[in-house]
Symmetry: C2
Subunit: 469 residues, 2 copies
């Protein structure tokens, strides 16, 4: 069992690490975007250096006090808010944003920098850091790595894990692991980098990262294709990959439900088709020099035959941005409607049509819902979100049976994932325990105990918090 | 301390797992390609099913007997041969080669299948499994994953780790982890898959894997460019990425030394230039439909200006194969000459020219050597191999000071890797302990102890074998 970060502890911590910023957290540090939990914290710490993080962790370790890392606060599974148990120390690395190094292939930056800042540094050198999220203005790179963030360019570039070459990490006892290698290949022992990435702050605190940079494609284009069905969308993806292997940067499914939500509750965005298609896909191509995006899309449209009923190819960067604004506004419309249960699921790409059909039938049999299913079809990752029927509110519904039914379908029928990109956080600890392979759970617990024997790192995330002995 | 797999143990094992193939290993199971060590084994086991592997491991765990996995036997760092300590059980999965499933995006196959077999299955479905190694006819996919194999297409597709979606693994105590997911995105807890990949059999025994398949590029081409220097090679790579981002499949540096070795000792291969250039690069492009490879190479040649002095663009698949045969024959020529010390190093790509200059100067100051430096410049991974002067033999030289000097330069001056793609095995355990970050070593030991508390899995690989208590 952990001890609380009470006044006596905070006073001793302030004496032990005299230059460390300590204070009461403003309310925003105790909130999360969907408003499901309210956090608590004994104190907020804002270290300015890795040495301060190390001293802080060593002190918490000795005192058996929990440490909850808070990045940009944009996580959707409650990884950044600790709502019960002994009050932890909340740690924000917002003062640690320095760009430590940059060359044509990589940059090294501190974990508190926002994703947007990382992208801007890359752009200033004529390079691109391709991780792209709607929340990139707030999300910090440390949090993006801790949660192995996904987004719309995973299809081409991989998730946050694939974009990270090395880490600097402060371990539970304050030890600093200096792992900021900038190497594409390094087979010197266990892959600790990928173990810490995606561990949601429960195995170590990422203080800096070296990140891959890419040449922007010579030619880029954006289009939206209206397709006749999810099956047509998957087949269109196959046709695109056959023509443009390695050059399909994004391939996003949008449902007519989602466009209807945008019309109903906003935000106001330009919708490309006069009549909303039941299904459409938003496609980014990044092509070699010598090609033309419009011709490439025309070729794809031709090849698609009757799978496609209409298409709009962006004629300018502004038009492309407009199409992306439509896509990126869907989560906000969802939030305004208010989901009963949101499901960030993955299945094999080829199984997407069956999953949508079966999940829709399942929900229709359970009650009167509206659905919005959209997302990263190229990765097999859909956001299958369930909303109250028109005129009803989510308090009229019982959420857990909805989540359990969808997850059961995902896991048992499709061997899929109940969290493709958002992580487990505190929201899905029970769902993970209920659905995961027992050997996997045992291995995870063994690794957690080995690297954080006192269980002070983000207690209650991924695995249950330590209980009274 | 472990117990030996002696006659009494083998007899009890045969009784406990009655259908398991057990026998004395033929000599080839106790050898490795460079002939540095001779292995030993109490018995060779060839399980036919995952259940047999599980029963075998549980029995060895109970008896504290070491288990050494033997794949295709092509590893270069002694991971497959245990030359001292108590005699282990040698395990070959050569009977486990079944293709369990395949669709357009992935296949699931047992670990004993060769890499060539995996490639052939993919090709039969019009897909490609892009891991490519000179030894792919012998190397097994289980070994490729256990060692996180690299090869010539890492630049475009990543190493073995990036090509694996899921694993089935038998743990030290015989527990089976059923992790054969076929998902591009799955953030349900710690990344155990990447922890087992690259662990060289020391954390679990991979029995099957789900692997990513790719659409072959619509247009492919191969060329060799003679460049004026390593700096010109790195700049040429930048020019290629600016034009063909995502479509440069391979970019291999070849030195005049290597071509000279081929002329001196064979094997006989066609060399593209009448006079061997000091430096050349072999380039594969995989382009979208509508492009022409020859025009793309001509554009690149034009852009390269005086960085390039000559080029040969393959006019047929046969000519492309000829150019690749030259590249793939260099390791055999090296073996015929007989290296004093081979260095599979990585540095940041931009640092390659400085590394080559400084390593060459270092060796020239140490004695009379021949050098052959070649490899995957696009990944920052060079094979910097040191040979005796003409007319002398490697027994005239003291190898360890050469290795230590090169590794010191790599680590201290370039923050590089002493094993970019071959792994640590038993060859580099001491070098890793000497050069790695202490926190990394401690984390690795903690993970090893957590997942294999008795130390029976490939003892002595990566970390030192368990000693007498």
């Amino acid at each position: 069992m952990l001890n609380p970060a009470d006044d006596a502890f905070v006073q001793k911590l302030a004496e032990a690490v005299p230059d460390l910023w300590l204070g009461a957290p403003e309310p925003r540090y105790l909130e999360e975007p969907r408003g499901r939990w309210k956090g608590q914290a004994g104190v907020l710490a804002k270290p300015a250096t890795t040495a301060q993080v190390s001293a802080l962790m060593a002190f918490c370790h000795a005192a058996r006090v929990g440490v909850v890392p808070y990045g940009g606060g944009t996580g959707l599974v409650g990884g950044q808010v600790c709502s019960d148990g002994p009050a932890p120390v909340l740690v924000s690395l917002e003062k640690m944003t320095a760009l430590r190094a940059m060359d044509a292939q990589s940059l090294v930056i501190e974990a508190g920098a926002t994703l947007q800042t990382v992208q801007d540094h890359a752009a200033s050198a004529g390079r691109r850091f391709p991780l792209t999220l709607a929340s990139q203005g707030s999300a910090q790179i440390g949090g993006c790595l801790a949660t192995n963030a996904g987004g719309v360019n995973v299809l081409r570039y991989g998730n946050a894990r694939a974009l990270c070459l090395g880490l600097e990490v402060v371990l539970a006892d304050g030890t600093i692991w200096h792992g900021l290698k900038r190497l594409a290949k390094d087979n010197t022992g266990y892959d600790l980098r990928d173990l810490v990435i995606g561990a949601e702050g429960s195995l170590g605190l990422i203080t800096a990262a070296s990140l891959r940079l890419y040449e922007p494609p010579a030619v880029e284009g954006t289009a939206v294709f209206a397709v006749t069905s999810p099956q047509a969308a998957v087949e269109l993806l196959g046709l695109a990959q056959a023509r443009f292997a390695g050059c399909v940067s994004a391939f996003e499914l949008i449902s007519g439900w989602g466009l209807g939500f945008l019309r109903d509750v906003g935000p106001e965005v330009h919708l490309p088709f006069a009549q909303d298609p039941d299904w459409s896909v938003l496609i980014d191509l990044g092509l070699p020099a010598g090609m033309e995006a419009e011709a490439a899309f025309a070729d794809l449209y031709e090849a698609a035959g009757d799978r496609v009923t209409d298409a709009v190819v962006a004629q300018s960067a502004a038009q492309a941005a407009q199409l992306w604004q439509m896509r990126e506004s869907i989560p906000l419309a969802n939030r305004r409607i208010g989901a009963i249960s949101s499901h960030d699921i993955a299945v094999p790409v080829a199984a997407i049509p069956d999953f949508i059909a079966e999940a829709t039938a399942l929900l229709n049999a359970m009650g009167d819902f509206r659905l919005n299913c959209f997302g990263h079809v190229g990765d097999g990752n859909l956001h299958f979100n369930v909303f109250p029927a028109e005129g009803r509110s989510r308090s009229d519904y019982d959420a857990p049976p909805v989540m359990e039914a969808v997850h059961k379908l995902v896991v048992e029928r499709f061997d899929g994932s109940i969290s493709a990109e958002h992580g487990i956080g505190r929201l899905k600890v029970g769902e993970l325990a209920r659905t995961a392979d027992p050997a996997k759970l045992a291995m995870m617990q063994a690794v957690k105990t080995a690297l954080d024997p006192r269980g002070i790192l983000n207690p209650g995330v991924i695995l249950p918090a330590p209980q009274k002995p």
